[in-house]
């Protein structure tokens, strides 16, 4: 239930930030009665209200919850946040590095980095797989489809 109370707090905070954002929306002399900020303001209010309801519901039901149910709540998703964030950081690293070194080396590094992060030992087969995979991706997206992918600033 703590999770729901925290979630409710986050929801209210998001609603507040979103509402503040509506203040940045410009007004036009041609706009309709609702206006560009009309729906966003309603949505912010609705979301805040739902957040309050979530907190209230959590407080009301927390007394009725048994210890067994609380354990079941965690289910299979008792995840390690730092580890998950690590994977996200690797992906974010690709987004930052690809426009600098280019698609082909960046995607090879991404494949190798994720595979190692997920438990593969650094080895020659891993390197070959990463490079081969990168070439495969390049052939498919860039050569075959002619789709633009990040280009290196060096070459």
């Amino acid at each position: 239930m703590i999770k729901d109370i925290l979630s409710g707090g986050v929801v209210i905070a998001v609603a507040g930030l979103y509402y503040l954002g509506t203040g940045q929306i410009l007004h036009s002399s041609l706009e309709d009665a609702v206006g560009a900020d009309g729906l966003p303001r309603i949505l912010a209010a609705v979301l805040a209200g739902l957040g309050v309801l979530l907190i209230l519901r959590s407080l009301l039901t927390s007394r009725r919850k048994t210890a067994g149910e609380a354990t079941a709540d965690n289910g299979d998703y008792r995840a390690s946040l730092p580890r998950a964030l690590g994977l996200l950081a690797v992906a974010g690293g690709y987004a930052l590095v690809a426009p600098v070194i280019g698609y082909l080396p960046a995607i090879a590094l991404l494949i190798a980095a994720v595979a190692i992060y997920e438990g593969m030992r650094p080895s020659w087969p891993l390197a070959v797989t990463a490079v081969g995979g990168a070439v495969g991706f390049w052939l498919f997206f860039v050569w075959l489809l002619g789709v633009e992918q990040p280009r290196s600033i060096f070459f």
């Binding site: 410009l26 706009e31 560009a36 957040g51 009725r64 008792r78 995840a79 946040l81 494949i111 789709v147």
Partner: protein
């Protein structure tokens, strides 16, 4: 009869058979790539049609559309990532079946239901084009607003047991949809000065982030990736008993797909969710939904494949594209100077007949091509998990970049993945959020257009018969769902007390 003979002549005098099969293969592969929707798959091949004969060009694009609708279900079932928007509903039970070691069965049901849906839609396309298109023509902005509300009203049954959390997720989804240009005045909203956000956030980015990235994070975060490699699964097309079991769900999918395809803006994703909801409502095996129900795959797959054909009815008859993919097909027609409408049937009947024949060939070939390509997908699932995670992430990021060629899209997908991961931890459902993203613009733009028409008078919504009917249906759905949730909560509480 004369047209039938002309169509048969085309089979031998033009290369529409190989063109249709090539288009189908391309569509399945493109649809199966996370981040590349059916419309993008079609758009990628659109430049190639410049030099083709008009008939072949339209057959190619139509076949890609059919293939992509099926292809989208492959990653939805195998890696919990819908390859296309309309395959999002297939994730629910498809991935559950895969987790239960029934991936081959799930893929077989998807393939079979897709063929049923395609054939049904194609029959309607051929037989009822002009009469049924009148339904779509009768829609006003008020009707579209009511349609959007109807779409959002099914949130309750997609909320995984918490209507409140579902409503929060849906509201957040509509909020995401408000990013970009205001649909009426064109003023920028929540763009933070980034030109990449002016056109808004595409739903496919939210789907890829929520489904793919968050799932990769979850698998990495829990116990590392599963160490057991799943056994090789044989594709299992449904037997007679299974066909009977999923028949009603397929029928529901076909009917829902028909109407959603006819309504511009409806599209395959809404049809899939609606048909899933209705199949669950009318099923004798309702308890199986969300836990690996074959009907939970059959309904959305039949539905979105029906839409692939029926969305072409208003397009061909009146030039109104019922979906993004239909819009790309419209682009293909315009490239060759073909104007949709009654004159198309008079002056370029060969193109229309070619599209019908090509779509039929692609649909029938789907059973063979689909079976041939599926083992490749199962092979992919059986690769070592670290490699699979690495290649999926590489595919997701590469596919995402192809949408707009922008690193901002990569940031959106990764951020959405992080939010999705938190949603998993706190048991917030994804699907209402996606529905909000898809339906938000339809609801807002048509609500405001209606008020512009009435000078701000909300009474206009009660003057439109279709809108009134849809709004009443929405209210009924919502009330039934709330009552059901309250009953289930009480039953669960009672069970806990007696246990």
């Amino acid at each position: 009869m004369e047209q039938f003979a002309q169509a048969l002549t085309m089979l031998v005098s033009t290369p529409i058979v190989p063109v249709a099969i090539l288009g189908l293969i391309w569509g399945i592969i493109g649809g199966a790539l996370p981040g590349i929707s059916a419309s993008i798959t079609m758009a990628l091949i659109l430049p190639l049609t410049y030099t083709m004969e008009p008939v072949n060009a339209i057959v190619l694009l139509g076949s890609v559309y059919i293939g992509a609708e099926y292809g989208g279900s492959i990653p939805a079932i195998l890696i919990r990532t819908p390859g296309t928007n309309s395959a999002a509903a297939t994730v629910i039970d498809g991935y559950e079946m895969k987790r239960q070691g029934r991936a081959g069965e799930a893929l077989g049901i998807s393939l079979w239901s897709g063929v049923i849906g395609s054939l049904f839609g194609l029959a309607l396309l051929v037989l009822l084009t002009a009469p049924l298109a009148n339904v779509a023509l009768a829609f006003t902005p008020m009707s579209y607003f009511a349609l959007g509300i109807l779409g959002l009203s099914i949130i309750a049954s997609l909320s995984g047991g918490s209507l409140l959390k579902g409503m929060i997720a849906a509201t957040a989804g509509v909020m995401i949809a408000t990013v970009g240009s205001d649909p009426i005045s064109g003023l920028g909203r929540f763009t933070f000065g980034l030109p990449e956000l002016i056109a808004g956030i595409k739903p496919i980015l939210i789907m890829v982030g929520l489904f793919a990235v968050s799932e990769l994070m979850r698998q990495s975060g829990s116990k590392g990736l599963d160490s057991t490699i799943p056994e090789v699964v044989r594709i299992k097309l449904p037997n007679f008993k299974m066909m009977r079991k999923i028949g009603k769900a397929q029928g529901i999918g076909c009917v829902v797909g028909t109407f959603e395809g006819l309504m511009p803006g409806g599209g395959g994703s809404i049809a899939a969710f609606l048909s899933y909801n209705e199949a669950k409502r009318w099923s004798r095996y309702r308890h199986e939904f969300g836990r690996g129900s074959p009907e939970g795959i059959a309904a959305p797959e039949a539905s979105n494949n029906t839409v692939a054909s029926t969305s072409l009815i208003p397009l061909l008859s009146f030039g109104i594209p019922g979906s993004n993919s239909a819009a790309v097909l419209l682009g293909g027609l315009l490239i060759h100077g073909l104007q949709p409408g009654p004159r198309l049937f008079e002056k370029n009947v060969d193109v229309v007949l070619g599209l019908y024949m090509g779509s039929f060939i692609a649909t029938m070939a789907q059973l063979l091509v689909g079976v041939l390509i599926l083992p490749l997908c199962i092979w992919l699932v059986n690769r070592p998990r670290p490699y699979l995670a690495a290649f999926i992430l590489a595919l997701v990021l590469s596919g995402t970049y192809t949408i707009n060629g922008s690193t901002v899209d990569l940031a959106i997908v990764l951020f959405t993945g992080f939010v999705g991961y938190l949603m998993v931890l706190t048991k917030f459902p994804f699907l209402p959020a996606i529905l909000g993203v898809v339906m938000g613009p339809i609801v807002e733009s048509n609500y405001r257009r209606s008020l512009l028409l009435s000078g701000g008078d909300h009474g206009i919504f009660f003057e439109d018969a279709i809108a009134v009917g849809l709004l009443i249906a929405s209210a009924v759905f919502l009330v039934i769902s709330v009552v059901r949730e309250v009953r289930e909560a009480r039953a669960a509480e009672h069970e806990a007390k007696t246990a």
